[in-house]
């Protein structure tokens, strides 16, 4: 019996969701940031999840772990606002703001925290299963 791997899987899930929450936090913090040039403007960060299967003993099935394989920048267009009096305005009077979509980020934040909780529940349940096994025959 391999309870250990259940903890690993739930832990990997929690870790991945934490990274996702981190990116959401930095996106929201930089949501209204103006940049001197469009090249230096902040672009929303998005984690890329992927599945990894750990090497196991012969005949044993591996559980599906999750990991963040990369963090990429969102390719949505920048928010160009017409503000001719802004110090960062270009010749046409436009200022480049970050491409963070606040509503998307809020939804992502909810999904990430729910997903985190799911993994916590998985871990709690596995723990109570193991506890039951340890107390076998004690009453």
């Amino acid at each position: 019996m391999s309870f250990g791997e259940i903890y690993d899987i739930a832990g990997a899930g929690m870790h991945a969701q934490t990274i996702r929450l981190n990116t959401v936090a930095s996106n929201l913090a930089n949501a209204g940031a103006a940049a001197e040039t469009p090249e230096t403007a902040f672009r929303a960060l998005k984690p890329v999840f992927s599945t990894i299967y750990k090497q196991t003993q012969e005949g044993q099935l591996s559980g599906a772990h999750v990991e963040v394989s990369a963090i990429v920048e969102a390719d949505a267009p920048l928010d160009m606002r017409y503000e001719p009096n802004h110090p960062y305005a270009d010749e046409q009077g436009y200022v480049a703001y970050s491409n963070v979509n606040t509503i998307d980020e809020m939804a992502d934040m909810m999904a990430a925290s729910r997903s985190f909780e799911t993994n916590v529940e998985v871990m709690n349940r596995a723990r109570s299963m193991q506890q039951g096994l340890l107390q076998l025959g004690s009453n």
Partner: protein, 116 residues
Amino acid sequence: MAINLDAALGIHPQTLDFRVERSKMLAGNLANAETPGYKARDLDFKTVMTQINAGMGHDRSYQAAYRVPYQTSGDQNTVELGKEQARYSRNAMDYQTSLTFLNMKISGLKSAIEGQ
């Protein structure tokens, strides 16, 4: 008269092992609920039981099968969160049931040994 412990405990140790393996698989599905392209897997209780009933014993080589989703999603992920949670929860209860049976078997043996 010797007591054969394996025979005395019956099928429950094997189902317990199966339940742990299955919960590992379902935990993987839940962890990958938002991974693009992930295909949900599950273990089938019936094939394991058939194996044991056929007298082949229990060799712990479980076969994982891919789940057929009720609805497909845009990112080709086949985890359906609610269903998966329900399965995980039920599997844990089934584990608890096997554990209870095992406990009863053991306390039965205990009172037979102690003779009171």
